[in-house]
Amino acid sequence: MTAIEVAGLGYTHPGSDQPALADLDVSIPAGRVTLVTGRLGAGCSTLLEILAGVAPRLTGGTLTGTVRVLGVDPSTREGGRTLVGRVVMLLPTPSSQLSGMTSTVRDEVAFGPANLGWDRQRIARVVDGELDRLGIAGLADRDPATLSGGELQRVILAGCLAMEPEVLLLDEPAAELDPPMAERLYALLPELTATTVVLATTDVDRASPHVQEVVVLDGGGVVAAGSPSEALGQEAVVGLDAGSTVARIVYEAGGRGRLPIDVAGVREWIAS
């Protein structure tokens, strides 16, 4: 079953004459973790903004082609309203996502569910669940304005998950986290089995062990899609210098065809 279906998608940012995405076709399966990657500027973040319905409705720009998220067109006003709370996006900068309307972490996590109009018992239940899942129950009574960037990003993620979204979009979620914290965030993703997770990042080495599907973009279109070893090991992808460092090393050492993307793969490759 697919959660997201995109066909012939083109998009140009406001004030720009270069299209950011051109004739892009992709389908993303429901209930799995999909990594969208490419070189910087390949259009991964832009794709997420379109899926979230914020581009072009909120941020402007021009869109062509068709987009269906959970069967709905997020670029229309009506479609966008239908998807409120069902499609949720986490941005790279935690500080600009903080609502400011709450004095405790617990209430900050409850901000999204409260906007959906849920009753207080249901909110309390999901908030406690997410605080536990992300290991931040100890922060529950802290003032969110006093947290570090890494703590705050987990609070905002908990706030996103507390809305029980069907689709979770993560745009460079670890950009402001230190490596151990980034690792913990990626490792959490496969546990979200009830949710379709789409992760956009160039941090492929750290993220790829925790994803089930990969889509590689370049020049505004798709160059490869499939399982991590299928997509990231393709010579065309490695040749772009996008994706796995390990595969790139083997490529530069003269390796061709399907390339290994992890250290174990290299051992086999050398042995064969």
Binding site: H13, P14, G15, S16, L58, T59, G60, G100
Partner: protein
Amino acid sequence: MTLRLLALVPLAVGINLAMGQIVSLLALPVYLDTVGTVLVAALAGPWAALATGLVSQLILGLFVNSVLLAFLLVQLLVAVYAGVMCCHFRVFRSAPRAGGSGLVLGILAASASWPISLLVFGGVTSPGVTLVTAVLGGLGLPLRWAVYVASLATDIVDKTATFLVVYAVLSALPGRLAGRFPAAARARGVAG
């Protein structure tokens, strides 16, 4: 109110209140505390500017010094003036035009704050202005005129500088932002 306006207003208020940090570092005799309001007038029109002015003064009044609440009307005057000037007169087409509009606003703002300073505060406002007032009073000028002259001098300098700073910002606006605030191009007279 759209979500973008909802996001813009707090940031513009933040600009108003953060300007004090910069002018005190540079020890300049201006406030520049309406830069955010005038900027929003150019970027998003008079209504957004009015909201920015209102929120600025309320936050200042509640969290910094409640006597500033008395000058709420002056902030709103700045917002309305800037909104009208941006919509209809393209005041940010050139630096002299921007500076001139700021100068006129300085006269209007001083005239509006004059009765408040005089009647509510007995002529005592910010330390710098009050010192000028006291010197003029000591020279024999009647209090009401001493207050007017002192606030006229500071407001003209301040509002002219404010409009020039906004002019500098608008002319340095990158294409990515300009594309997102189409009204800015109108205020600069480069399109529409």
